[in-house]
């Protein structure tokens, strides 16, 4: 509400300032003013809106504390229990009822505090609104007083626009920093409870037993998770995706007629656009049971209804378009003269591809595969739905294995206290995943870049 009022004031400021600037311009002549009337308008509008809005944003954060203090000062609050936990739960309940998100109080003490809460909230909201309005007026008036032919409103406004552009691009840095800091911070807390060596090299993963109080020593050995991740994402998925993706790219770039290529490429790209949860459902519902039946009838032991193979195969299919487009780019980057040279020697197309184009494009393809691996090991839903939860250290593709991402989901869903070793373990796993994917990406981009430069 108050936000709308402030914006309204800004609009008024814009109109008034523009009008004044127009009059000034009329009297001073076109070249007498530095900036256009509408730029003066913007200058005033921004001065009106921005300080007030910033104040409101700050106020919204400060107000709950002020309200709570006010409530605690009322006579009704004197009867509150001194225990911090009980106290905050009553306060929370009363607050919920007061602002309409809760309906009935379970604790009669809360009910008594509802009215003081409402009063305090109304009071402080009103104070905030009045202050914001004053600020808006003050800002607007200040800016308006500066409207004059010589005033460089345009460059002032533009400086602000520039600043907001810079701010927007800094969000990316803040996000990266946020990821790194939150992962590091929570992981540190985890490593205070569990020895990093045990975590990185331990062979036994059973966080449930830790939660039951058997200690953390043997509960958080993440090697089975790492193996499961590598087995599914870097081995099985790649065995599917590399040949299919590479051969698809070769066929579409070297053999297919342009019309076919025009149709087939988007169709393959659809594979990349299918949400992972759909792949996961498909893997769990269709692929995994089929594989299990096959394994049972073939007499393979350890077959499970959730298997590394099911998750890996489906993930491989998901990665096909990724590998294919990377290979496509790499092959396209090999100069045509290379191909001509080989064909002119009397090589067939396939000989040219196998002996000249692929060797020449190999660094690019390898880089693409590394990127694909990095994507596969970070993939979550397929493995959550189809790979299983059993932390097996096995080579049997029909057995169930678990992965880093699966366990992260597993550890963080359900009601847990945020401070338990179980919850924090998810952040430690996240840190490992982040570092590994980052390294893979850096290496891959280096390789691809070097390769591109070789042909430029």
């Amino acid at each position: 509400m108050i936000v709308l009022i402030v914006l309204g004031l800004a609009l008024v400021g814009w109109i008034v300032a523009r009008a004044r600037a127009m009059r000034l311009q009329a009297s001073a002549g076109r070249l007498g003013t530095n900036s256009r009337p509408s730029q003066h308008g913007w200058y005033v509008a921004l001065w009106t809106a921005l300080p007030a809005l910033i104040f409101l944003a700050v106020w919204a954060n400060v107000m709950p504390g002020l309200v709570t203090n006010a409530v605690l000062g009322t006579p009704e609050a004197q009867s509150l229990p001194s225990d911090a936990f009980a106290r905050s739960s009553i306060l929370g309940e009363a607050q919920g009822i007061a602002n309409g998100s809760g309906q009935t109080a379970f604790n009669p003490a809360s009910q008594a505090l509802v009215q003081p809460y409402r009063d305090a909230t109304t009071r402080y909201s009103a104070i905030g609104a009045i202050l914001a309005a004053i600020l808006a007026f003050a800002g607007g008036a200040y800016a308006f007083s500066r409207v004059s032919p010589a005033f460089k409103a345009r460059s002032r406004v533009e400086r602000l626009v520039m600043f907001s552009l810079l701010l927007a691009s800094l969000i990316a840095v803040l996000t990266t920093a946020g990821i790194v800091i939150s992962l590091l911070f929570e992981s540190m807390r985890f490593f205070a409870l569990v020895n990093p060596i045990d975590f990185l090299f331990g062979l036994k993963w059973s966080p449930q037993s830790a939660a039951l109080g058997y200690g953390n020593k043997d509960a958080f050995g993440a090697v089975p998770l790492f193996w499961g991740t590598v087995f599914i994402g870097a081995i099985i998925a790649m065995v599917v995706a590399i040949p299919l993706g590479l051969m698809s790219a070769i066929y579409l770039t070297q053999y297919a007629r342009p019309a076919t290529r025009k149709w087939m490429k988007p169709i393959l790209e659809v594979l990349a656009g299918v949400p992972t949860v759909v792949y996961g459902y498909f893997a769990a519902l269709t692929v995994a049971p089929a594989l299990r039946n096959f394994a049972v009838s073939a007499g393979i032991s350890g077959a499970s209804s959730e298997s590394a193979l099911a998750a890996g195969l489906v993930m491989g299919v998901m990665i096909i378009p990724f590998v294919s487009s990377m290979a496509d780019d790499s092959i396209a980057a090999v100069p045509q003269s290379m191909r001509d040279g080989s064909l002119a020697m009397g090589a067939t197309t396939s000989e040219t591809i196998r002996k000249v184009l692929i060797p020449a494009a190999l660094p690019g393809v390898v880089g693409g595969v590394l990127l694909a691996v990095s994507r596969a090991i970070g993939e979550t839903m397929i493995v959550v739905m189809a790979a299983g939860l059993a932390a097996n250290l096995t080579l049997n593709p029909f057995a169930s294995v678990t992965t880093v991402t699966t366990q992260m989901v597993q550890l963080l869903t359900g009601d847990q206290e945020f401070d338990s070793a179980k919850t924090l373990a998810a952040f430690a796993l996240g840190l490992v995943l982040f570092v590994v994917t980052l390294l893979l990406n850096i290496v891959a981009l280096r390789v691809v870049k070097k390769y591109r430069e070789a042909y430029e």
């Binding site: 990316a172 994507r375 959550v384």
Partner: protein
Amino acid sequence: MSAAALPLDAIPAEPSRAPTDWKGDVMRKRIARRYAAERRFRLLGLGAVALSAGFLAFLLISMMSSGLRGFTRTEIALPIDFAQSPILIDPAALKAGNPELVLANANLPAVIDDAAKKAFGVNGTEMLSPGAVIAVRKAIIADPSILSGKATIRVPASEGVDVAAKGNGAPANEASIATLQKTNALSTAFNWQFLTASDGTDPTQVGIWGALKGSLLTMGVTLLLSFPIGVFAALYLEEYAPRNRWTDLIEVSINNLAAVPSIIFGLLGLAIFLNMWNLPRSAALVGGMTLALMTMPVIVIAGRNAIKAVPPSIRDAALGIGASPIQVVFHHVLPLALPGILTGTIIGMARALGETAPLLMIGMRAFIASPPGGVTDPATVLPVQIFLWSDEVGRGFIEKTSAAIIVLLLFLLTMNGLAIYLRNKFEKRW
């Protein structure tokens, strides 16, 4: 100069070599082998393409075949003799007060229970969905006069009967089907409830509206945050950024963010948005913010490419007539780059719409039985709903899951189609 005077001996001495016999048998066989290899290789490529496309077709067909059933429901014509039923409701009372309230207080389930047993035997009640009450209530409100006599009302069948009627049931349910078919009570209708209801415990009563609304709210938050930030960042980096370390840092950050696994963004949302800022758990607001951080790099990268494609001559022309750098960008460069930016935005949004893992991390997997009213209410989204339903044991949920997948894929297909259309329509070469 004549051929005879050719200085052949200028070439260093070397063993002479018999000319290759291209027509010989050996060479002919060799050529045949090479062509066979060529054909094999070509077939291998075709096979790879066909296999990939075939897998896509298989995926879509299997989703379609089980999912389309989720859009229909089996209905049972239930004859109810209200006049003879244990509970009498006065039609006049309906007109007087709030009919919903009156009927809610009347013991309709008992009436239905009674009627079902009379019509279909002792198992009659189990053949009906719990939603039958709602269907009967609606029928009464539509025409209160039926209360004084007999009426046949179409009510949804139970999960077991529904699945069996669609040809996939357990033997026990096949028997029910036989009973029902004797009286010609079965029929199939479009399941509007699937599009209007939210999550529930009984598969005959669930719908996707709650999840869909959650998705729309989340996408709204994502778009509002990521689009301006993404476009501004792209403009800054492409048009104004000085070449220095800070700019490098920004660029590296954006490129890395684009490659960070989505689940990591979920951890970020959990640690910062939920635990540090105490924003509401399971809410579309937090989901949207988390996805916005994920989508923003996509928009920045697409935006930079689009801005790069605007030829410098246009900037020079605008600068040349005295426009300030900001005016050049906002009056000339941005409008020209907009189609490209929009295409990238749609693609990024489509990816965010299909995203599941980060939302699980911030608790958007709650059981949401009523659609969220705003961005701070607990909500779920379509992909998470699919994930939740896929975990349900009831057979009726299989088709609902696939049906929800069809809805999700339709949305994604539309978005991607729009992106491709935009790209083709506005693709300009300068």
